[in-house]
């Protein structure tokens, strides 16, 4: 047996903490290694979990799987082995080490490996590993971190401390005005709120990369399908305000007097806390205001920052409606609001964007709703986690008798998303081949059911066998389990080499390239989420090889017009009533247990929708 050892090393002109932050991400190699086209971690594990397997494709088309078998942040050393490769790299174990060069604040990167190739191929394989993998990778790192031309790098002191610095965290700011239709007013002296510490502790939301872009907004969550969709990419203030304005609320209404009586302190309290025992609002309740029980995000943080409070709900102003709510939908965006990852909520404030209930009263100018109407909504601004609220009326929908409150609260947002994806972004026709990624997820199941009913041939992708069964029940003609084989090959084989007419992809970074590969000529890739991370920059010139269409729809842009929204809802309610699309509500909890609902959602302990009941 021939044992080969390969060693390549280089000096990178950047501090070791910067270089290591990139290298230690076991799934980041498609961002820095020029030979890697796309990569994903099997089972959607954290990028730094030892035992994790990355399944990736090289630009030449070959497919490999490698396992992380050692990671050391102190020595800045990462060791991995090959599980599957098209070449005879038997027994391949490699180690990447980043060491500081204190003289100049640079980094020495060393890449070494050993493997046992067949004798006849030893020379070729050794050269391939040394040159096409290691040298090419190290050169790419040098270029990536090359200082701009003309920029002088400061020379650091010779004995820099060598404590491994954690990578810089992206600050989670929550500055800016409250975007709720209510102005939240603190009317008592509250304990000082904790500063918004950049935290990844409870949500794992933002994993920094060297350039500050969030690379793992879904952090260590083991299964992303349920919430892979990205319904509100609307995190920019201008867009939110545009929605509010188009929703019928004039921009200069001024602050509404919703006084949030903060219940005691923002300290963690038991989830089972009974009775929402806060005193009635001592603030300035508007004339005719009613009291409601609400769950307030006391500060950005983990589920424990969700605390009960009593709020005052003012009578509706022009264009507004006041609701008594009966069922509230819990969505992953609520977690992002709670943690501060999305800038849609400034604590203390009531989260939530989806609920159903009954109209109490309407303000001047509201004609499509009347007291006693059963209604539901799925739109910003936040404020749904309450027994009652006042909000802009334009996007509040009347419910038909066939749709019960819990169903509406559970499926409205996902169902409207499925509606515009299947009818507007791409109008699915009978006979088309439709691929749905994360087919067992909340939106995925509805897409499969509905597309199947439209007469399309549906191919679903999932991460596990259990989810495959769910996807089959949802109407998939073929289910591909990730990690078994590249899904693009399965799609091409199933279509006789033609590819898919449309691909609905909310996985994002890990699937984008493979999705393009699976498209038919003149196919349509609808990228509507990025559960695995941002899709990143792509050369649109490459799409000419298939005359591909790429769409990046935003929920807010398809649901902001009241007339269009009502037409969309009518189509959704029809298929729901007919049973063509069936909601899967797996978790019902009382409103007071919102913290537990969040904890379960983040632990991926739920399948299907979560509803809070009043």
């Amino acid at each position: 047996m021939t044992v080969v050892r390969v060693r390549r090393s280089a000096v990178i002109d950047a501090p070791v903490a910067t270089v290591w932050a990139l290298l230690r991400d076991f799934n980041a190699h498609d961002r820095w290694h020029p030979a890697v086209a796309s990569s994903r971690l099997e089972g959607s594990r954290p990028v730094d979990q030892v035992g994790g397997v990355r399944a990736f494709r090289l630009k030449d088309g070959s497919f490999l799987r490698e396992k992380l078998i050692g990671l050391d942040d102190r020595a800045r050393r990462l060791t991995y082995c090959i599980l599957e490769a098209p070449l005879r790299l038997d027994g391949y174990v490699a180690t990447l080490t980043a060491t500081p060069v204190t003289d100049g604040d640079r980094t020495f990167v060393e890449w070494v490996s050993r493997f046992d190739p067949p004798e006849a191929e030893a020379g070729r394989l050794t050269r391939l590993v040394a040159e096409e993998v290691y040298e090419a990778g190290l050169t790419a790192l040098q270029r990536r971190f090359a200082p701009p031309v003309g920029a002088a790098r400061p020379v650091a002191a010779a004995n820099r401390p060598t404590v491994p610095a954690p990578p810089a965290l992206r600050p989670l700011t929550s500055a800016g005005p409250q975007h709720s239709a209510f102005e939240t007013v603190r009317t008592e002296t509250a304990p000082p709120l904790s500063p918004v510490v950049p935290t990844v502790a409870t949500d794992g939301a933002v994993r920094p990369s060297d350039d500050g872009e969030p690379t793992r907004p879904w952090g260590p969550n083991p299964a992303r399908e349920e919430d892979g969709m990205e319904v509100f990419t609307v995190v920019r203030r201008a867009e939110i305000e545009a929605t509010a304005v188009s929703g019928g609320r004039s921009a200069d209404d001024g602050p509404r007097a919703l006084a949030v009586a903060r219940s005691a302190t923002p300290l963690p309290r038991p989830v089972q806390a009974q009775g929402l025992a806060a005193p009635p609002s001592p603030g300035r309740p508007a004339a005719g205001a009613i009291e409601a029980q609400a769950i307030v995000v006391s500060r950005h943080g983990g589920p424990e920052v969700l605390v009960p409070a009593t709020v005052s709900v003012p009578p509706p102003g022009p264009g507004e409606v006041r609701l008594r709510q009966t069922a509230i939908g819990v969505n992953y965006i609520d977690v992002y609001c709670r943690t501060g990852f999305f800038d849609l909520l400034t604590p203390p404030a009531v989260p939530g964007m989806e609920a159903a209930g009954v109209v109490v009263d309407v303000g001047p100018g509201v004609t499509h709703l009347a007291p006693g109407d059963r209604v539901a909504y799925a739109c910003p601004p936040v404020g749904a986690y309450a027994t009652a609220r006042t909000m802009a009326a334009a996007l509040v929908l009347k419910l038909p008798a066939a749709i019960d409150d819990e169903t509406a609260a559970a499926v409205l947002l996902k169902g409207l998303t499925a509606e515009f994806l299947l009818h507007q972004v791409h109008a699915v026709r009978a006979g088309e081949v439709v691929v749905v990624h994360a087919a067992a997820g909340g939106v995925g199941v509805m897409l499969c059911q509905w597309a199947s009913a439209l007469g399309a041939a549906v191919i679903g992708t999932v991460s596990t066998e259990e989810k495959a069964a769910l996807a089959r029940r949802a109407g998939c003609d073929l289910v591909v389990v990730h990690g078994r084989e590249p899904f693009s090959e399965a799609v091409l084989r199933a279509t006789g080499g033609r590819g898919a007419d449309v691909i609905y992809d909310a996985i994002g970074r890990d699937s984008f390239t493979a999705s393009v590969a699976a498209l038919a000529v003149r196919g349509h890739l609808v990228s509507f989420g990025q559960a695995s991370g941002p899709v990143g920059a792509h050369d649109i010139g490459a799409f000419a090889s298939k005359s591909a269409t790429i769409s990046r729809p935003n929920y807010g842009h398809y649901t902001a017009d009241p007339e269009e929204l009502r037409a969309m809802a009518a189509r959704l309610f029809t298929v729901l009533a007919a049973g063509t699309v069936q909601p899967l509500i797996s978790t019902r909890l009382p409103l007071s247990a919102a913290a537990e609902a969040h904890a379960r959602l983040e632990a991926r302990a739920t399948v299907g929708s979560t509803v809070l009941t009043v």
Partner: protein, 145 residues
């Protein structure tokens, strides 16, 4: 334990740098501060356990024991037996690695020790800057930077 870590890159292949560094009796040949050196008991300079007894240009005298030497890893570990610095449990390692990109040498010099007098930071600075960094810069100059 106080720790010192200093490293640099030398513009010569490891095969040329290592013979200079591996000579446990060779400090006067490449460092700017060592005046003369001998190995006690007439032992070979690469015998594990041997002690080098050397003086500095300022007259101070040190005794250090060779604990490990690897021509495979290009590394050398030694401890201080006697020195004017007032350190205890002092163990240092000099290690070289090839920089295959450009056929250069990465060299790092690390040390751990206790400072009973409580002047850890002062000693870290002195050893890091005054000893290791100064020596590595001299080595760098010797090979043309």
């Amino acid at each position: 334990m106080a720790k010192v870590f200093v490293s640099t890159v030398i513009g010569a292949p490891v095969g040329q740098v290592w013979p200079v560094v591996r000579d446990f009796n060779g400090l006067p040949a490449w460092t700017p501060f060592a005046a003369e050196s001998r190995i006690e008991m007439g032992a070979p300079a690469d015998q594990i356990g041997c002690v080098r007894n050397f003086s500095l240009k300022d007259g101070a005298r040190l005794r250090e024991r060779l604990l490990a030497l690897s021509d495979y890893d290009f590394s050398m570990t030694y401890s201080i037996l006697e020195s004017p610095m007032g350190v205890e449990d002092y163990v240092a390692t000099l290690a070289l690695k090839p920089v295959t990109d450009g056929d250069r040498t990465y060299i790092e010099w690390t040390a751990e020790f206790r400072a009973p007098a409580g002047n850890d930071q002062e000693l870290v600075t002195f050893i890091g800057q005054g000893v290791f960094h100064a020596a590595l810069q001299a080595l760098k100059q010797r090979f043309g930077g």
